[in-house]
Structures are given as C-alpha cells and as structure tokens.
C-alpha cells in the first residue's frame, strides 16, 4: 500500500467517524483528499476498493439507504468501531501478556500480538512479569489456518486425507465443528458428509490444500457436542498382562512401567507389564532388542518375532545391495 493510499484511508476513517449523519459518495469525494475530482468512474472504483479494505481490517462501515435519496449514505458508527473501555488490574494484564505469547506461528501469533497492541493502545498496561512459566502452542500443520477460518465462518471444507497407515489419499468433505490440540497434535472434528457421520481428522494427515464448500454460516455445531471426548479416542484400557524376561541391569524403562518384578536366575529377571494392543506392546519390546523376551501371551510373543524378522529382512536387504 502506497503512502498516499494510507493517508487517504486514514483521512477516510477520520471523516466517516467524525460525521454525525451519513455522507454520500460525492460528499466523501469532496471531503477526503486524494480522490479523482474529474473521472467519476475512476473515483467509484477507488472508493469501492477503499471501503473493502477498511472492512477487511475490521472497520464497520454503516450504509444507510434513504428512500428519498438516490445515493446511499456512509458513516462509521463510533460504538461499533471503538474498543470498549476495558480496565485491567495489573495481575489481569500480566495474564493477558502470558496468553499473547502462546501462539508460535504466523496467523494466530499475529492476531494475538495485534490484540495486545490494541489493548495497550486503549491504555492497558501489560508489563510482562518475569514468569517462571512459559507456554507455547505450535500450529505447524499447513491445514491449520484454513480450518480455523472454516470453524470461525461456520463453513464446510473439502480436503485430501490419508487415514492412518493407509496407502491411498481420499477426498473428504466435512462440516467442521471445532479444532482440538491433544498431545501436541491438532485434530478437527465434524460431520463427514461422505460417511454421513461425525468423524475426527488429524491435521498432519491432510495431504493437500483445504478448500471451502458452500456459504459461510452453513455449518451448525450440535449443541451438546463434546469436542474433546470425540478426539480422545477410546483407547482400550490395559487389561492384559504380558510376562517378559529382562536381562539383568537393562530394561530400566520397562522395569519402571512393570506391575510386578521378580529376580530370576542365569542373568535374567522377569517382569509383568499391562497392555491392550499386542502390536503396540511389540513395537516397544522389539525396540529393546536382545535384552528382553516376551514369554507370554503367545500373540504378543508372535508380534515381537514378526517385527524383529521384518527389521532383519529390511536391513539385511540393504546388506545384499552393497
């Protein structure tokens, strides 16, 4: 934006705020320096663009259509424009300062610092106390800004999505109800139009651009929806017990997680660990290599053997290539 344009827009804001009654486009043309006095069409185009730019930064322009006048009148209603008086105690201001630092990236970080600046401009003191606590939330997923906007505007979206472990990417169309961060990952929850049911999507598995579908305001969030419990997938409780041999002096993490530990003979101990999914248990146990051996149950034992054979095969292949 050129300096001249910024000047014109600032004068336009002042003009529209100062006026008691709505001004016609022609009156504005006379009052605000920088509009073309000769070419009507050029003025109209410029005035339209200016109004749009003001609206984009959140300035509400009131349009009055008087049945007795041909041209609409414009003004900015002070009450709709101004930040209401907000008085914060020092401890309240410190909390806002802490909250404004939370967002780490682009869109929301800018929004938060913009908000802080407006509050400070409104007279709020937000001197940052030296806090022993620091909070950060990252929104590194490329899909985050588009989903935030869709949730804000209550608008349906469509995006390419790869389900966990899937080899293919499918296009999904979703009415988003919300976005939730859990355990450092972002999820969106909503009504999946293709499945005709509520679904949860992990943002990191969205494999391409998110586009909006239909009008803003078209999505209705069910009143009783609990976003978090939807994202907190029903992890099965650890109801099963595995018996595992551990070489003495190793497997410290495993021993720490164990519900029972017995000193054995021949340099080996035995521990009991609770689990739900044998594959998950097998991933952990396989990672501990030759220091552990699952004795029971057989399905967990088989799962470990399968993983180890898989690792041997893939890394062994490499050996053959050389």
């Amino acid at each position: 934006m050129s300096r001249r344009k910024t000047e014109r827009l600032l004068n336009l804001v002042i003009c529209l705020l100062a006026t008691q009654r709505p001004l016609s486009a022609e009156q504005i043309r006379q009052a605000v320096p920088g509009y073309d006095p000769d070419n009507d069409e050029a003025f109209q185009r410029m005035f339209e663009r200016d109004k749009n730019e003001l609206r984009e930064i959140g300035i509400p322009i009131d349009v009055q259509r008087d049945p007795w006048e041909d041209d609409p009148g414009y003004r900015i209603v002070r009450q709709a424009y101004e930040l209401p008086e907000i008085i914060l105690e020092p401890d309240e201001a410190a909390v806002i300062g802490l909250a404004a630092q939370v967002w780490q990236r682009a869109s929301l970080a800018e929004a938060a610092s913009g908000a802080l600046l407006k509050l400070q401009a409104g007279g709020v003191r937000t001197d940052l106390a030296d806090s022993p606590l620091e909070l950060r939330v990252d929104t590194r997923d490329a899909a985050f800004p588009a989903l935030w906007e869709a949730v804000r505007d209550r608008r349906a979206v469509t995006f390419p999505y790869r389900s966990a472990g899937s080899e293919s990417v499918l296009t999904r169309t979703v009415e988003p109800w919300g976005v939730v961060s859990r355990g450092g990952r972002w999820y969106t929850v909503g009504h999946d139009r293709d499945r005709g049911a509520p679904r949860v999507f992990r943002l990191s598995r969205i494999a391409g651009p998110v586009s909006t579908v239909g009008r803003p305001g078209a999505v209705t969030v069910p009143e009783d929806v609990d976003l978090r419990s939807m994202v907190g997938f029903q992890e099965a409780p650890n109801e099963r017990i595995a018996l595992i041999k551990v070489r003495q002096g190793t497997g410290l993490g495993l021993r720490h997680a164990a519900v029972a530990e017995r000193t054995g003979s021949g340099g080996w101990d035995e521990v009991e660990v609770t689990f739900a999914d044998p594959e998950r248990l097998a991933g952990w146990i396989a990672s501990l290599g030759a220091d552990v051996e699952v004795l029971d149950p057989p399905d967990a034992r088989e799962a470990v053997i399968r993983r180890l054979k898989g690792a041997l095969q893939t890394s062994g292949d490499h050996g053959c290539e050389r």
């Binding site: 003009c15 930064i57 929004a111 407006k118 949730v151 859990r182 991933g283 290599g289 030759a290 893939t314």
Partner: protein, 317 residues
Amino acid sequence: MSSDRLPRLLALVPYLMSHPGAQVPEVAQLFGLSEKQLVDDLQLVWMCGLPGHTPGDLIDVSWDGGEITIENAETIARPLKLGVDEASALLVALRMLDELPEFEGRDVLSRVIAKLEQAAGDGAAAVSSQVQVEVGAAPGAHSVITDATRRRRRLSLHYYVPGRDEITPREVDPMRVVVVDGRHYLEGWCYRAEAMRMFRLDRIVEVDVLDVAANPPAEAEPMDVTEGVFRPSDSDELVELEVTAAGRWVAEYYPCEEIVELGEGRLRVSLRARDQSWLVRLALRLGDSGRVLSPASLADRVAETAKAALANYDSVA
C-alpha cells in the same frame, strides 16, 4: 508489511494519546519498528485530519527531543475493537492457562476472560470454545518441581532416557517450567551435561529437592522453544529411512530435514540423531514398515541386533 500500516496507525495514535510523553525508542520497540519507521509514521499522521484539512483540522504531532506529543486526534483516540481472530487467539490461550495445575490465580483468569469476552462480542466467544488446546495430565512430580523453580532450589532427578533405555541421576538447577503443545517440560541447568536441558516431566522417575540454592552459571540462558523443543544439531549424523504407510508416523513424531513422498503412502525421510542406538531402536520398532537406506553401518547394527534378539526366541520356535 505496508498493508499493516493503517491498522498500525489506528493503534499508534490512541497509544500516544493514552501515554503522553512516550519516547520514540520505547514506542518503536513496542510497535516492532525502527525509530526511522516510527518517525515516518508520525509524519504521515501529521498530514491527516478532519475534512477541510486546514491547519486547525490536522492532527498535531511532535517528537522534539524524542518525546512524542499528539493533539487534535480525538476522532481516533480509541483503538479499533478487537477482531474475531484477535480476541479468539487470546481467549483460546487463556482457557488453556485455566487447565494448568501450576497456574495460580484462577479467579484472575475468569475475570480476564469475562472482560475480554465482553469487549470482543459473541463471535469470538463462540470460536474460542470451538478451538481447544488440551493440557496433558500433570505428572506426579509436577508440584514439587514448580515449587522448587519458584523457590530456586536445586533438584536431584532420576530421568528416563528412552533412546538409551537408561535412567540417569542428575542434579539440575530449575529455571522454568515450559508447556509446549500441552506437554510439560522442566528447563534447567544440568550438571551432568554441563548444559541447559529440557526434561519431560512425565519421564522424571524420581525427584528430590536439595537443600541447596539453585545457582546456574552465567551462561545458562533459557532456550528458544519457538521452533520446537528438540532440535537436532547440524553435527549429528544424518540418516535416511524409507517407511511404508504404516511407518509414516515417524515423519510426524520426529523433526525431519527432508520428507519425500514415494507413492502408495511410502516416504523417504532424512533426520539427524545424536545417538545411533536410538535409531537402532526406532528401526526395530518399525519392523518391516521401515528400512535404513543410509548409513550402512546403521543398517548393519539393526540387522545384528534383530538377529541377536531373535536368538532369544529360537530355542522354542
């Protein structure tokens, strides 16, 4: 940048009006500008004013001797109201603070949230309940650690390092508790590493507060966590893995230098690691859904370890 200029001016003018006698350097810093840029903004403001634009209509600004005074700007004396994104960004963060067990001052928080919601209108309140950051359950050690950080006491920790499957004792001077993406970390000077370290609270197996005042060396500076908590160093070994669709989680969980789609959900990822034994464990965990492409020494170690582990099972199989 220049498209942000009008919103900035609409905040700058009210700021100057509510802070008479503000100095050029401090205002420039607050608004993220150089002093020259700020003066340029002031010059622009000085050219604007009420219709008529006679000297009596224009905003009067001066910055003689670095002290800024502004007059005749009553029309834009109040800042623009908060936008939905602006208010929501703060509200979501405030609601997250509310979930932190170590956050003292829940009454302050509810007062702030109420004031902000009132200032922002319904739109922002609605959005901020639809965007939520869940804070992980605080591990047991948590209250002891926050308390010691506040009181600046040295801690004795037993810390689990999953990469090496070790529990190591350390003495740490706690400096801050950092919550990143809902997960708690203790940041402090570690006397074992003789460096600043981040400790995940849920991996602290045992903690004792020592009767010693924390006294970290002068070079102990809090780390910049803007780009994530764990950043591999350039001197760490670069490793290439190929994973199938079932192993794609590797690219989501660890910071990768490069991720290349190979089709059918397969990926080639490059990552750096300080410790090869961590990578051996990762490869074993992946089973046939991962393959080490390079270095060859790592592939050999994986094969060796897998063979040795399988030998445990041979006697019965």
